[in-house]
Symmetry: C2
Subunit: 299 residues, 2 copies
């Protein structure tokens, strides 16, 4: 990657039919809408996508459907590919590379919460060597509150040093600004994406890549406007945009993030299937979707 990997990236919600299968009609419409509203990339199968509630087969199928139906070009996609085991992480990552995806977003092997940085380095090295393609680009995915194990700034720096053309990005969903800042400093070759637009301004001021945020599912136009304003160096303009964006995020988060986003989509599309989440998560409460939509309409 000669150009630095930057932009506003939507970790795509996954809508379900009432039998819990993926509702592809809603999925493709939603993906198309996010791109039309300004997302640079889509990231199917992040945490907001309920990624870990899907089989390998379902993930491969959904990714292909986005491309085959002409909703997204493969180079607009950065699918999540990280599982606990190397074989299936390789399967997903190879598939994404063969499809022509821009990058893959890869969790550390969770469950192994006591693994050392040395062990994680060993794992990611085996992944990179296993894929064995010059086209592979990896965005390390740090979300220790769910995985129980962090991708440390030192590990990110070491991986970027060893594989500068491959390990090119880091998504930080820790919500810990000190960590975000430490990765930017420890791995200057890496594009760091905070998991929230609320710190995008601070991150981009230090060289961060943009953001990969759940609320890009419902407010990507606003977030893209903020991004463009920051890229243009218009800090005053950015400050003017921030309150609407923060208020949107706060409102969705108050709805429980995924249920909040899905409730809002149900309200906006009039399709109650958007209320479905897979177990162990619970369906979104339609009674909350109305007030949420009203709150956002006032913004």
């Amino acid at each position: 990657m000669t150009d630095r990997f930057t932009g506003v990236i939507t970790p795509l919600l996954t809508p379900y039919n009432d039998d819990s299968s993926i509702a592809f009609d809603l999925y493709l419409d939603h993906a198309a809408g996010c791109l039309a509203d300004g997302a640079h990339y889509l990231s199917p199968f992040g945490t907001t996508s309920e990624a870990l509630s899907h089989s390998v087969r379902e993930r491969i199928d959904a990714l292909e459907k986005l491309v085959e139906n002409g909703v997204a070009r493969a180079d607009q996609l950065m699918p999540g590919t990280g599982l606990c085991n190397l074989e299936e992480t390789l399967t997903l990552s190879r598939h994404a590379v063969e499809l022509g995806c821009a990058a893959v977003m890869t969790l550390p092997p969770f469950f192994f919460v006591k693994a050392s940085d040395e062990g994680l380095y060993r794992y990611f090295s085996q992944l990179i060597e296993g894929v064995g393609s010059d086209a592979l680009r990896i965005c390390l995915y740090n979300i220790p509150q769910n995985t129980g194990i962090a991708v440390s700034p030192a590990l990110a720096g070491r991986l970027n040093d060893a594989f500068p053309e491959v390990v090119v990005a880091y998504k930080d969903s820790s919500g810990d600004w000190d960590n975000t800042k430490a990765v930017i400093e420890a791995a200057p070759g890496i594009s760091v994406f905070p998991g929230s637009e609320s710190v995008m301004m601070r991150a981009m001021a230090l060289g961060g890549g943009g953001c990969i945020s759940a609320s890009c599912n419902t407010n990507v136009a606003g977030i893209r406007a903020l991004y463009d304003t920051l890229r243009a160096g218009d800090d005053e303009g950015a400050k003017a945009l921030a309150p609407q964006i923060d208020a949107h995020r706060d409102a969705v988060q108050a709805g429980g993030l995924i249920p909040g986003l899905k409730g809002l989509k149900a309200r906006q599309t009039g399709d109650a299937r958007w209320l479905n989440l897979r177990a162990p998560l619970m369906p979104a409460d339609p009674a909350l979707a109305g007030p949420l939509a009203d709150t956002l309409a006032r913004l």
Copy 2:
């Protein structure tokens, strides 16, 4: 299951060749040895087995090899089947039922660390209905230090009430005796297996089922003797056996549990492949295996 599910259960180590594939020659020998030394059941693909470092395909294959090679009868097996997603957990659980396994040992869908008991109940209900077989027996697998989410005593009780013929056991690897005791009290229909032989005496006194312990890989004869002594009501005999058993466990734990067990197996068998662990874990240190074997020889 008319009889209560009880016994000493070995969560089977998984040995690897130097290319990280499963070393089936060592695996089958080890499984046969555990049964010959007194294990009532084998549990392939628990945490000690590095379960989450294996693909669905590898787990199915290994289970079939144990049966096809005549090493274990299917009704001596309780494989781990719990992943984060329902579809692949169903695949593994259905396969185990079709093979004729005694039970399956199932993690809650980890990664979803904020899931409610209601959400977990929904998940396990969908699993049980999805397998749709009277032959299904589930051992709930509680290891919150790795999964980030506990199977609460109340949830165990509720599942046993709703599915009394299916949800018949609970493995408690939390190391929290208060939780073990609370499950025995909240779910009297369930057979509770502590994850350590060190509390087997206390658990069995309250009606617990035995134990499922990592050290059954290297000390199953000793643990079986303790179990038989407790079943015979010989508390004095049990107290006499306990120090050797606790010392064995302490020594293996000091070696880092899985690396400790594998290091000891490498020393005992003279086969250095036993030192291999899959990333993100690191290989066992052969320099520690010698002193560990010497410590155990002195016991």
